[in-house]
């Protein structure tokens, strides 16, 4: 047997069982090991490619861990100020009504500083897709309490656990959005297991196809983990997410079109 000296030597067509999807760039992902963002990015890149939308898509990246999303998927991008992605997407879509416009936002971005922009874009029924990654914490700034942090959950700004009497309650944004007439399709999914990845991809494909038909606002929430912020191993964090996050943020459709 030949001595393998480098990864390049074993990348041969006959050995390939899995590869970087076409629209992912060569840039190295900036995420911690075990984080769900990478999987969510990949599904999104696959779908834009499979739906033939590369030349039709403008993405809006947020402020937060996924701030550099524009480095990772090979499409046109705009980087929005913190929380303002739905307003930026509104401006894009109103001027380019035939394009596919989406935002990708974390829970601090979408559910705290950008609450007004999110609710009003959805209420106007802007024909955009909002991908909402909810890991219950501010990851990029180092694990502070988010609007979605669970009661009792520890963070660097709730070091003894979130005391709802002092710090208020976690906000279920997807549930709120689902009550708005402008929202067309609202669902909550996860990407921690292969079956869930497949479900999330199906949900996103559905949302993208509603966008192609210029239906109303679609919001796909992905409940995800933050091993670094939660101070757990990736495996522990996924277990903790199933036991604690899912009961509070149950997976499944919150609003589906009446057809």
């Amino acid at each position: 047997m030949a001595v393998v000296t480098g990864i390049k030597e074993i990348i041969k067509p006959e050995n390939l069982v899995y590869a970087k999807t076409k629209l992912m760039t060569e840039n190295i992902l900036s995420y911690c090991p075990g984080c769900g963002h990478g999987t969510a990015h990949r599904i999104l890149a696959e779908l834009i490619d499979e739906e033939g939308l590369q030349s039709e898509t403008i993405g809006v990246s947020p402020v937060g861990c996924s701030v550099f999303l524009y480095n990772f998927i090979d499409i046109d991008w705009q980087e929005a100020a913190h929380g303002r992605a739905p307003a930026v997407a509104t401006g894009i879509k109103r001027l380019l009504p035939d394009k596919f416009v989406f935002t990708y936002q974390g829970d601090g971005d979408l559910a705290a500083i950008g609450t007004a922009e999110t609710i009003h874009a959805c209420n106007r029924g802007e024909k955009i897709l909002i991908i909402f990654v909810n890991n219950g914490i501010y990851g990029m700034t180092g694990g502070q309490m988010a609007p979605t942090t669970l009661p009792g959950m520890k963070s660097s700004t709730s070091p003894f656990g979130r005391d709802v009497k002092i710090m208020g309650n976690p906000l279920k944004m997807a549930d709120i959005v689902a009550t708005l007439p402008g929202a067309y399709y609202v669902t909550r999914q996860s990407v921690h297991k292969p079956a869930n990845v497949a479900k999330t991809k199906r949900a996103l494909r559905k949302a993208i196809n509603y966008q192609k038909l210029n239906k109303g606002t679609c919001l796909v929430e992905i409940v995800s983990n933050c091993p670094s912020g939660w101070k757990m191993t990736p495996v522990e964090s996924n277990k903790w997410m199933e036991e604690n996050m899912f009961p509070f943020y149950p997976l499944g459709d919150l609003k589906t079109p009446e057809e």
């Binding site: 705009q78 307003a87 997407a89 401006g91 109103r94 001027l95 380019l96």
Partner: protein
């Protein structure tokens, strides 16, 4: 082509001129004394004629970010507001300057600070000309002194905005926005189909992806970018200074004033000359870039300069820098929404610069 003559408010003139100039989109939020801009546009329904998008946003913050998104697609887009609303827009304006996007922001200034008053003022000069939001940046700032100029400066603003990929502010005030004057309006222009090479319109196979952003964490690259911005502002200073002189040739004393104060000071020049004081007026039309060089030249021929502004004295700092100690420079202005009278200006000129 023959221009159409109308009697309009300054705010209405901005709206009508935007439609006629072929502007692609307007995003706004109501605030006195500029609300007629969006009211006029909603009444005119340009989305049914030229295809211009008009949208009332949920806040000034949302409106300026809609401008960011649409401007990032290479479109001619604008917003308007008044002082407290412009303060809210500053985050977005800083991002627009950082991402080098062209757009027009109209500020129909009212008295402050805080909620202040709804009456006209010029107390947003610092905010308009020195950046306004965080970071080292400048807007190109145009100061209309008539309803006609509020109309004319719409097209000029977009010319400059696209030439330099820089946001432009039209710094008007509550008097010019609200008063009615005759205005000549140009013919309806077609909206442009041209797409700037940097615009995000969907990435075709033929080009690299376009990214609109103001972020670069690498300090060396961020410094190089800042140097590029400063070089652009130097170009703007070199090429785009605009001003108007009124009886400056033989003047012993110079008034410097823009917008409503310049209108008042024209009368002050007449009154002064009737009383035997040779006074002239320099009216900056661009506040950034400021007519520094011309004021410095005039300082060689006059005995003193009075900067007149409806503020506690903001533009006077740029006049002082321009004059660089050659002659005495004073500020005069009323505050809180009170418009200066021509007599007050002449009296102040006499007491501060002439004596007696």
């Amino acid at each position: 082509m023959k221009k159409e003559l109308r009697l309009m408010k300054g705010n209405e003139a901005v709206a009508e001129a935007a439609i006629r100039a072929g502007v692609d989109g307007y995003f706004g939020y109501p605030i006195t004394p500029q609300t007629e801009v969006i009211e006029y546009l909603m009444e005119a329904k340009p989305y049914e004629t030229t295809g211009m998008v008009v949208l009332q946003a949920e806040s000034e913050i949302a409106a300026i970010n809609m401008v960011y998104g649409a401007a990032g697609c290479g479109k001619k887009v604008m917003t308007s507001s008044s002082s407290p609303g412009i303060s809210l827009k500053q985050e977005g304006i800083s991002y627009i300057a950082g991402a080098e996007l062209p757009c027009l922001v109209v500020n129909v200034v009212r008295g402050g600070p805080g909620l202040g008053t709804i009456q006209p003022a010029q107390s947003d000069y610092f905010q308009a000309t020195k950046g306004g939001g965080h970071g080292d940046y400048h807007l190109i700032v145009l100061a209309p002194a008539s309803v006609q100029e509020m109309a004319d400066f719409v097209e000029l603003s977009f010319e400059l905005a696209f030439k330099y990929r820089n946001p432009v502010m039209m710094l008007s005030d509550g008097a010019i926005g609200q008063m009615m004057e005759k205005v000549y309006l140009g013919p309806q222009k077609e909206r442009s189909n041209s797409v700037p090479e940097w615009a995000t319109t969907g990435k075709p196979a033929s080009r690299e992806r376009n990214i609109i952003t103001s972020l670069d964490l690498d300090p060396n690259r961020q410094e190089v970018f800042n140097q590029k911005l400063q070089a652009k502002y130097d170009e703007i200073k070199k090429n785009e200074v605009r001003y108007e002189e009124f009886q400056c040739d033989d003047a012993d004393y110079l008034l410097v004033a823009y917008g409503t104060s310049a209108r008042v000071c024209q009368k002050s020049v007449q009154i002064g000359r009737d009383r035997g004081i040779k006074v002239g007026l320099l009216r900056p039309i661009t506040l950034f870039p400021f007519p520094t060089k011309r004021i410095n030249e005039l300082a060689n021929h006059v005995k003193g300069i009075l900067s007149v502004e409806m503020s506690a004295g903001q533009m006077v700092e740029d006049v002082l820098l321009s004059v660089n100690g050659k002659v005495p420079v004073y500020h005069f202005g009323r505050m809180g929404g009170i418009v200066t009278t021509p007599e007050e200006v002449v009296d102040t000129l006499k007491s501060k610069l002439i004596g007696g």
